[in-house]
Amino acid sequence: MDFIRQPWHWSVAGVLIGLTVPLLYLIGNKPFGISSSFRHICAACLPQTKFFDYDWKKESWNLFFVFGIFLGGIVSATLLADPNPIKINPVTQQQLADLGVTQFSQLEPTDIFSFKGLLTAKGFILIVVGGFLVGFGTRYAGGCTSGHSITGISNFQLSSLIATICFMAGGFFVTWLVLPLIFKL
């Protein structure tokens, strides 16, 4: 069991994530994509506007799928939990420590990504503002990392390649130029 509990190699994860694309095509004619779940939750739970006026029940497979991801998270953190601390690249760890991150043992820096951290200015920006931008941006862009970067590019969609380049450009910009300002708050 130790083999499966330790962090998985990128090639194993890449192959398994890649195979999810044909698997979903073949078991039910579904293109792999996750961000649509946000829209279906809006359509199901929030006051209707034109953009959310469609038959979300027909698309409900996506909600079952993301519920499964949540359950997979539970399995990973219990049955398959790795007892060892995460290994972070020393250069990145030093850069983050210089910014003011103090917790480096778990998947997340728990000094920021916790309910206590949420009440600080930087925690609020990273979690709430960041979450808002993910939800707003993905729908504006027409997809997320799964829908554009994996499914779209594998189907040779130019829009997906452009969106992916912009995901990366946006991420580099915030990491290098905006995070230092946020961590000064």
Partner: protein, 154 residues
Amino acid sequence: MENTIEEGKNNQSTTETAAANFKYILVGIFFGIVFVKSEVVSWFRIQEMFRLSSFHMYGVIGTAVVVATISTLIIKKFKIKTLQGEDVVFSERPLNKGNVIGGLLFGFGWALTGACPGPMYGLIGSGFFVFTAALASAILGTYTYGILKDKLPH
């Protein structure tokens, strides 16, 4: 046209029963385990990616794209049918300014939260319950986009 589902659209013409949906929970569980065990859900791994100090994320995404592309080409070439006997539908994705503007905004959010949509669900399951706030905010972000859509450049 107004209400195109551009991602994850259900292209199956056979009606799907509620029970049939359980297979997507199983795929989701498998997928969630891969996500968490390969640590792509981690804020640190995303930071390493944007700081160009680890190959891990590039390896995961690059391999996934290669495997997905080869699989897609095989399905197209041999006209492999779905379990229900249907032709697989490969959705076109519209090219517009949103790919750039929305893509940049998504990238900003990705670097801040260290999580794209899939990892948010996986992280909540893994016990990082504060990601319920990120998820709620992401849903609100999508809702805000839905309200503003017609006023935004596309």
